[in-house]
Symmetry: C2
Subunit: 275 residues, 2 copies
C-alpha cells in the first residue's frame, strides 16, 4: 500500500495488532504511513528502553500513550498501595521510553460502593501527581462504559472524568475519550466541550460498537462496522480544540485471528473513510 | 416451604421461571406466598383470557405488568406503523387479561441516531396514549442499560425516561425502574426522587449484576449474588413514595437449567435477605 499522508494523525494501539511483536508492529505501521503508536505495557515487557526508542525513531513513530495504569480501588490498604507502586513504575517506564502520557483505567471493587471506589481513585491520583511531575509524564483518566462498572472502572461517564480532572486542576492530569465507552451519552457533546475548555482533552480513542456485540471485552468493531457516530464525535472533539492523534484501539478475537497485514490495511481504510 | 406473609410485595416475572407453563408457574408462585405476577406475552400466548383470569384468581395472584411493548424505532414508516399496531394489540390483550400496566422496552435502530430513535419513540407513545386510555391500561417506559443502546433502547437513563414521561404529563404514562439497567448511575437517587415526585414511578424490577457477567442478555444474577446495592436503591424507591410490587425479573440460562422449585426457593430467600 502506498503511503498516505492523511495518516499523520493516525495512531494504533499495539494491542490492536496483538499477534505482532513490538518491533514487527512498528515496522508494519510505519510502512503504511502511520505516525503514532500507543504502547501497551505487555508489548514492550522484556525489551530495554534503548531498543524501544531506537525502534520508534527508526520508524518515525511518535509514542502517544502508555497503556494502562490505574486500577486503584481495593478492599485492603495493602492492595491499594501495591496498585500505586505499580503505577509509579509505569510512570517511570513511560519516562524511560519517552512516552508522554499514561492512560488510567481507574478500576472498581464490586464489594464496595462505586463512590468508595471513586474516593480511592482520587486518593491514587493525588499520590501519583508528584511522581508524574517528577517524570514529566501526563496522566489521562479514561471513563469506561457502564458495563465495566463492576470491576474495571467506577468512572463511567465523561462527566465524572471531567469532574475528577477539574478537582485536581493540574496540567499533568486530563481525560482520554474513547468512543466505545461514551457514544450513547446524550450529554457527550457538552461534556467534550467542557473537557476541551478546561484543557483536559488529552486523548481520543476510536473503534466501533458491533451490532450485535458478542463478547464484553474482545468484540470491538472496526470503524464503520457498527453504530457509533464516529464522524460526529470526531467533529465535537476537534471543535473542542483537540489536535492530537486518533488512536485506534480494537480488542477483537476476530481480527487477531486474521492476517495482520490485511487487518492493518482495513484499519487504514476505515480510518480514512469512516472516522 | 411455609407461606411467608412478608412476600406481599413480591412479584415474579413469568420469564424468570421460563421453563414453567403459565398455570404451573401461577400455582408454584402462590404456594410460596408470592402475591404478584408480571406476565410475558409468550407465557399466555394460546391461552384464552378467561383461563388466565381464572388461574390468577384461583391462586390469589395480582397481575402487575404485561411485558413487553415498545420497539418503536425503525427506518421504514411501515415498520414503525406495524410496531404501533402490535402495541395496540398488547394494550387490548392487557385489558382483556385485566393487567393494569404495559412495560415499554422502547427500542433503537442502529442505522439512525439515538435522537432520531427517541423522536420515533415519542411519536409511538403519543399515538398509543389514547388507546391506553380507551383500555385503561397504563404504560411504563423502561430505560435500559447503555449496553443495549444499539438495538433495544435509545432511552438509556432514568433521566431520559423521566423527561419523556414529563413531556406527556399523562396519568397513563410513567416509568419502570430496573436496577440492572441503572445501578451504576451517579444520578440515580436524584432521578428516582424526581420520578416519584411527578407520580411517574410505576414499577420496580430487581435482580443482580453478576461479577463477571458472561452474556449480554441471559446472565442476570439473583439478588445478593452480584454488586448492585439493592437495599439502598429500594430505600430510594420507597422514599420516593413507591408502594407497588418488587418484581423479580431474571433472564438466566443457568437458573432456567435448574429445578424451578429450588430456584423459586432461592428467589424467596434472596428477596427477603438481599433486596
Amino acid at each position: 500500500m502506498k503511503i498516505d499522508f492523511n495518516l499523520n494523525k493516525l495512531c494504533i494501539h499495539t494491542i490492536t495488532t496483538k499477534p505482532l511483536g513490538f518491533e514487527d508492529a512498528c515496522a508494519r505501521y510505519a510502512a503504511l504511513g502511520v505516525k503514532g503508536i500507543s504502547i501497551w505495557r505487555d508489548a514492550v515487557a522484556g525489551l530495554d528502553s534503548k531498543t524501544v526508542s531506537d525502534c520508534l525513531k527508526k520508524n518515525d513513530l511518535s509514542p502517544v500513550a502508555y497503556v494502562r495504569g490505574g486500577f486503584f480501588p481495593a478492599l485492603e490498604a495493602e492492595k491499594r498501595e501495591a496498585a500505586i507502586e505499580d503505577n509509579i513504575r509505569m510512570l517511570q517506564e513511560a519516562s524511560e521510553l519517552e512516552i508522554p502520557l499514561l492512560v488510567l483505567v481507574c478500576g472498581a471493587e464490586p464489594k464496595q460502593s462505586l463512590q468508595k471506589s471513586r474516593d480511592q481513585i482520587k486518593e491514587g491520583i493525588e499520590t501519583l501527581l508528584p511522581v508524574a511531575r517528577k517524570y514529566n509524564v501526563k496522566m489521562a483518566i479514561e471513563p469506561l462504559h457502564p458495563m465495566y462498572a463492576d470491576t474495571r472502572s467506577a468512572i463511567t461517564s465523561l462527566k465524572q472524568a471531567n469532574e475528577m480532572a477539574e478537582h485536581f486542576n493540574d496540567d499533568l492530569l486530563g481525560v482520554a475519550i474513547d468512543v466505545y465507552h461514551l457514544w450513547f451519552d446524550d450529554d457527550l457533546e457538552a461534556q467534550i466541550k467542557r473537557c476541551g475548555k478546561n484543557d483536559n482533552l488529552y486523548a481520543y480513542h476510536i473503534c466501533d460498537w458491533n451490532v450485535p456485540t458478542t463478547d464484553f471485552l474482545l468484540d470491538r468493531g472496526l470503524m464503520g462496522e457498527g453504530c457509533i457516530p464516529l464522524k460526529q464525535i470526531r467533529g465535537w472533539v476537534e471543535e473542542a480544540g483537540f489536535r492530537g492523534f486518533n488512536e485506534v484501539e480494537i480488542f477483537s478475537e476476530k481480527f487477531w485471528a486474521e492476517d495482520q497485514d490485511e487487518f492493518l490495511d482495513k484499519i487504514v481504510d476505515a480510518y480514512l473513510n469512516h472516522s
